[in-house]
């Protein structure tokens, strides 16, 4: 119900924003290397590769992201297990420096015991960005909170939230941008009996005309 309300509000905002700032489609895409650490019942680390893309139409933005790689016990010699993560967001820019988005975020990985844990979050995200080194260096901070979630664990879902902060450097006279950030997701199940934290550094390169 909460997800439906947020989705409806975002859709209405997006429709108004599209009419108000009608422009051509502005695509952007990038690749990232994410050093990931998952700390829950197990502690798993690894480096995964990701790709993300956005298409903007006026103030409306649609974003997709995908990550895949191997993670395994820290310092262990065992072969890593798959970590797959995907996100789809529909967002609007009420102001040039602010984006509000919502959408599903799924994550799946294998625990050392062989159990595959699958998460599905419905998230509401807010992202603020602004130039701080001339016009080439922009900083950003994004926070999200899960409106609802489902996970194939015996504990009931309590809450989840996360964030990412970093900077994006646009190379002069080229539509290329470099990204360096730190992200963290934190989920709580069963009233705190089970906690899962996923964090890591993000190094990316992308193409953008914005």
């Amino acid at each position: 119900m909460r997800v439906a309300c947020v989705g409806f509000a975002l859709a209405a905002l997006a429709a108004g924003a599209t009419r108000g700032g009608a422009q051509g489609l502005v695509p952007a895409a990038g690749l990232s290397i994410v050093s990931t650490r998952v700390r829950g019942t197990d502690e798993l680390t690894g480096t995964v590769l990701g790709g993300q893309g956005t298409v903007a139409l006026g103030r409306l933005e649609f974003a997709l992201g995908y990550l895949q790689g191997k993670i395994g016990p820290e310092g262990g010699g065992a072969r890593g297990q798959d970590l797959v993560e995907g996100v789809a967001l529909l967002g609007v820019h009420p102001a040039a420096w602010l984006r509000i988005a919502a959408g599903p975020h799924v994550r799946s990985y294998m625990l050392t015991g062989g159990t595959q844990l699958r998460w599905v979050f419905w998230e509401l995200r807010a992202r603020a960005s602004g130039a701080f080194v001339g016009s080439a260096g922009r900083g950003y901070v994004e926070l999200w909170r899960a409106l609802s979630a489902s996970v194939n664990a015996p504990e009931t879902f309590d809450h989840a939230q996360g964030g990412e902060a970093g900077m994006v450097v646009h190379l002069a006279r080229a539509p290329v941008e470099l990204r360096l950030g730190y992200r963290i997701d934190h989920a709580v199940l069963g009233g705190g009996t089970r906690v899962e934290t996923v964090d890591g550094a993000v190094i990316g390169v992308g193409l953008s005309n914005r």
């Binding site: 050093s35 650490r37 700390r39 602004g130 130039a131 701080f132 080194v133 001339g134 260096g137 900083g139 901070v141 926070l143 939230q161 996360g162 964030g163 990412e164 902060a165 970093g166 900077m167 450097v169 360096l180 950030g181 730190y182 963290i184 997701d185 934190h186 709580v188 906690v195 934290t197 964090d199 890591g200 550094a201």
Partner: protein, 353 residues
């Protein structure tokens, strides 16, 4: 008797041919009565009426072509009255009035036209046809006028001061029907005439070299100086960009980097994760370093090359505009225009020896 009948026959023929044209002309011409009397073969009456009307007429009451028409009828009437000398004198007046005038050979018999042609050749009359008002650039421009002659002759076209002293010869030589002459507004020394009134004189000479007649046209001269252009105003201060960086970008880089680095480092505390990885410190350090680097790159007082270039281009455009105006003003100061107003021409007959 036979000769008189021939005359009468020719006159009647001429009258018949001109009947339609004459009917219309008689209504509007100031010499209608005399022409009608001529057409009725009452030459004495025609001569008296035409002489009276010609004496009354002036430039305002009759046009040149109307006066020429009155004169040709008067000359023909005098000729048919047996007063050839009087007819010749009338035709001479007609040639001097309009050297290009030719009697209609359908209206007037050969006896009339042949006398007229003889007078035209002997009279050697010229008229000057010049625009009433002209403005020229001295040296490069030209005041153009036409010399129209009744017959082939030798002419001398000169410009003279009011006392008659010549200061510029424009043409000397033979001419046929007409001659176009130009004056560049300067005297023989290449200077503007230092007077406000000069005379344009055309002297006709007989084949023997004797002066046959002079036509003078007074010209009123006035030097017209073209106004110079004002210099373009220098660009307003608001159009210039700052050429040195202020402190704001540097502080924004330093404080923004510090704030962002702190946010990265504190993000686990905000989100609630326990024992976060050290990678956040690496990222926070990089962001802080970027802010410090931005401070150095945007340090206060740093020359802003792009703005300096833009300001230089702005000043250069203004200086180019000033240079163009200066060049234009130099040209305008040198470009003295001469306004020429032509007066009424006068004919001077050489004194008989």
């Amino acid at each position: 008797m036979r000769r008189s009948l021939t005359w009468i026959g020719l006159l009647v023929g001429g009258w018949s041919a001109a009947a339609a044209q004459g009917a219309a002309q008689a209504i509007v011409s100031p010499f209608a009565e005399g022409i009608r009397a001529y057409q009725n073969l009452d030459f004495d009456q025609a001569a008296a009426l035409l002489r009276r009307d010609l004496a009354r007429s002036s430039g305002s009451t009759a046009t040149v072509s109307e006066r020429a028409q009155g004169l040709v009828y008067l000359g023909a009437a005098d000729l048919f009255r047996g007063r050839r000398d009087s007819a010749v004198a009338v035709f001479r007046r007609l040639v001097q009035l309009d050297p290009r005038y030719r009697p209609d050979r359908l209206v007037f018999p050969p006896e009339v036209t042949s006398v007229f042609d003889n007078v035209r050749v002997e009279a050697r009359a010229v008229v000057l046809v010049a625009p009433a008002d002209t403005e020229i650039s001295t040296g490069s421009g030209a005041f153009s006028f036409w010399v129209v002659a009744s017959a082939f002759q030798t002419v001398e076209v000169t410009l003279r001061y009011q006392d008659g002293a010549p200061f510029r010869a424009l043409y000397a030589g033979p001419m046929g029907d007409s001659l176009r002459v130009q004056w560049d507004g300067l005297d023989a020394a290449g200077q503007m005439p230092p007077v406000s009134r000069v005379l344009l004189r055309v002297a006709s000479r007989a084949p023997t070299g004797d002066l046959a007649g002079i036509v003078q046209l007074p010209l009123e001269l006035r030097a017209v100086h073209v106004d110079t252009l004002p210099w373009p105003k220098p660009p307003a201060d608001s159009l210039f960009r700052p050429e040195r960086s202020g402190s704001r970008p540097a502080l924004r880089a330093l404080l923004g980097g510090a704030l962002l680095a702190t946010t990265v480092a504190a993000l686990p505390s905000v989100v609630g994760g326990d024992r976060p990885s050290r990678s956040r410190l690496v990222v926070a350090g990089a962001v802080g370093f970027a802010g410090a680097l931005g401070y150095v790159l945007h340090r206060p007082g740093r020359p802003l090359t792009a703005n300096i270039q833009a300001n230089k281009a702005l000043r250069s455009r203004w200086q180019q505009a000033v240079a163009a105006v200066k060049a234009e003003n130099v040209q305008r100061r040198d470009d003295v225009r001469l306004s020429i107003h032509a007066g009424e021409p006068t004919a001077i007959k050489p004194s008989a020896r």
